[in-house]
Symmetry: D2
Subunit: 268 residues, 4 copies
Amino acid sequence: MISITEFIYKNGGNILYLAQHVDAERQVFFMRIEWDLDDFAIDEGKIGEYFATLVADRFSMNWRLHFSNEVPRMALFVSKLSHCFYDILARYEAGEWQVEIPLIISNHADMRTAAGRLGIEYIHLPVTRENRAEQERKQLELLQQHRIDFIVLARYMQILSDDFINNYPDRIINIHHSFLPAFPGARPYHSAHERGVKIIGATSHYANAELDAGPIIEQDVVRVSHEDSVEDMVRKGRDLEKIVLARAIWHHLQHNILVYENRTVVFE
Amino acid sequence: MISITEFIYKNGGNILYLAQHVDAERQVFFMRIEWDLDDFAIDEGKIGEYFATLVADRFSMNWRLHFSNEVPRMALFVSKLSHCFYDILARYEAGEWQVEIPLIISNHADMRTAAGRLGIEYIHLPVTRENRAEQERKQLELLQQHRIDFIVLARYMQILSDDFINNYPDRIINIHHSFLPAFPGARPYHSAHERGVKIIGATSHYANAELDAGPIIEQDVVRVSHEDSVEDMVRKGRDLEKIVLARAIWHHLQHNILVYENRTVVFE
Amino acid sequence: MISITEFIYKNGGNILYLAQHVDAERQVFFMRIEWDLDDFAIDEGKIGEYFATLVADRFSMNWRLHFSNEVPRMALFVSKLSHCFYDILARYEAGEWQVEIPLIISNHADMRTAAGRLGIEYIHLPVTRENRAEQERKQLELLQQHRIDFIVLARYMQILSDDFINNYPDRIINIHHSFLPAFPGARPYHSAHERGVKIIGATSHYANAELDAGPIIEQDVVRVSHEDSVEDMVRKGRDLEKIVLARAIWHHLQHNILVYENRTVVFE
Amino acid sequence: MISITEFIYKNGGNILYLAQHVDAERQVFFMRIEWDLDDFAIDEGKIGEYFATLVADRFSMNWRLHFSNEVPRMALFVSKLSHCFYDILARYEAGEWQVEIPLIISNHADMRTAAGRLGIEYIHLPVTRENRAEQERKQLELLQQHRIDFIVLARYMQILSDDFINNYPDRIINIHHSFLPAFPGARPYHSAHERGVKIIGATSHYANAELDAGPIIEQDVVRVSHEDSVEDMVRKGRDLEKIVLARAIWHHLQHNILVYENRTVVFE
């Protein structure tokens, strides 16, 4: 830890943000650090090499280096439900995020028009049990063609194969419409209503091989009562889902998230 | 519904509170109504009979009649964890609730002194796998002797038999230290930590035959992060538990809760 | 109260929803009731007259009658900030609400394109201290031409005259970016940061003559910490604002809100 | 910053916790660091001196050094309202906090018995407009006699003089029963009800010369509706107040709080 801050200071970097976390039990140390390159002695293109040689390799660190002028490229997978989709497009159009969205993939054609307005390519790839493998191949090709950095499943409703997911480890963000681990899988609002819970939730997480079991990024909840029908829960849940998904995307874009052992460290 | 309010008005009752709920799906109607007896034409002792004959029997209503000067008698079951116990005693001593607590039953002797200060009988009944049936018989006797109306399991940590529970249907309030149905059973904070959730919760519910599966009365949550160890969750959870349990007791004492099909209507 | 439900039942109406509230202190009674007209004995066009004659006039009730197939007409006032605007348009496009939005008025031209996509007329009326009275006259004309039922100020940022507001009593919904009554007026996030609060909020309310002092419809909050700069508060606040405004619009459209003495009864 | 961690590492200290905050606007840097003294090269009694000489003086740091086996001494000021008082005593008896409470001062005699059970000295000092200065002199004497480190005003309801407060800068914790800066001063629940807010709150803060205007430590809120009378707000607020006050005390005891420019950094 000394070495990281030393590495920055001694080379003229001005630290703008520094957050740390010690997992005492597992003896793992996490750090997120931002610094100003204005007077930094090492060229941008060389920082990674120097850091590896002088610091990271000695301590067997896992590390990633990002530059704040990078614009990550995000693909959106959508189905028929539009609330998360519209919310993301609105933020995109308003410039809330530093991101490029060159590609939307959907198993339905419904939202082609809205995508078109913003000049985003919208690919309609209907998925059935039979053609899933083939469609995933096409999806992966499209993702590569568009040099996609990470994927957002905005209520996509289709299960992705492990193979597909393994191409984007910790880079596929899903939104699940329950307070996980309660009510994984299909129709969580129906289950929540049936169980008579007094609070419902939404969970954004990185997709992994097990359904709705990946590392949780963000959760939030809203109070319900006996007055709320399933439809009321769906309505209240929509707003939760879009906010919880947007927060996850924002943290991902800020490189605030470190994943380990199926959990996340989210520096705020 | 007309008939209930008519019954009250025509006999000179002044309605103070009226709440209703229609379960449109199941075609069930719920009502909670309070009225002033000052000018009521029917004697207190006769209201039930008149109401049954003139209103309830005709519509096959399930109904209960309570008088606001009744003081329900509550028994407390405790173990070694003291936060809910102390919180309840403090409210009792401060007169927050209209309740009598004549009896505390525990499988440990730890909190005898605190009970003694308020003049509450404290019975130490250690429970083992072998003597459970016998101890439950003693417990039931004690509950009867003290004319107990309802039981609060303030982190009691022992599983009660179905037989025992059936003696007090919808009259045993339990607090579970998770956001049910997530993490039922033992050590929910450990499971929550392991799963990496971003929010933890507590749930108060009526005990029924299935563990942690009875009708939910109240839930609340608190935000956690990667910084929170299991111990931090336990600490934050303690405050949740005592508040969520106290709210359930309060609603029970106000007769705000109607149970049906393993769910609750809680009129506020 | 008997009379209202009697009026409905005796004429063959099936009650779908009924909520009541008694303000015991002020001796005011509030009710919101929905019923099915399928077998109702009185013609739609006559219900109001019959209800007035047979029920309301006798008890000097204030009452309103709405039919669930009515589609209210809403005008949107916007300025340069787009998050509430986009959120409303997305809900409109997705059909979340039963509403018609024929008119958007703005003191800036920025969002004309987005409005145009949905075929909504967008009128650019720059407001200065000098021309305010004249522009308000034009606004009122436009509102009349488009037969507007209620107005939503989606971060409009301009102060409306009392005269203007009096044309739409309890029909102008504003969103203020603070937890009122804390931080009324300009730059509430700056004030919140300066004061060092640990929670920020947003408030939707009906506009009245006094700035940010009208009857509150809905509020919500989000936690902040010393880590949050004013910019972070603005970012977190944006999501609050759009949700809190959308909830108010939804309640208004459902006719859930009754206003009296500068407060609201909001039936859920 | 390098120097602090270097100072610890080079002398054999093992860092257990490290949190930092940069106020970029004011160019102030905050750090809270915990380390293990087991193999530390410098004697406990000398750490302060060495740290000052080698690190702090060079950078003109403001710093405090605490040892985790210290048991701070807290005085409680109470009046007639007992919920915060009982909650604190319960935590004290249960051993939730590492603290000593040798002294309770009250302008009423009501809670003498409860204090006596735990062997805490209870001094009854009735305060009037006329005798306030004299009573404060006695209070200060008592605080000195009992070597009090910090004071908790558990709904004390009396205004303290600036002189008194200046004796314990950032060491008098008050709980105010509103979401400050909304509703400072007397009867905030009445004001909240009058204003028709949809959420009420509680605020714990360090007392300073201006009433209810000191640096905020913690806030929390609970939802209310038109159904809630002032009495309901008082009831819901009681639970908020005790939790929000307890969190502030906990953070104070953990030395998590740094105060500057009337705001707090609270490291969690």
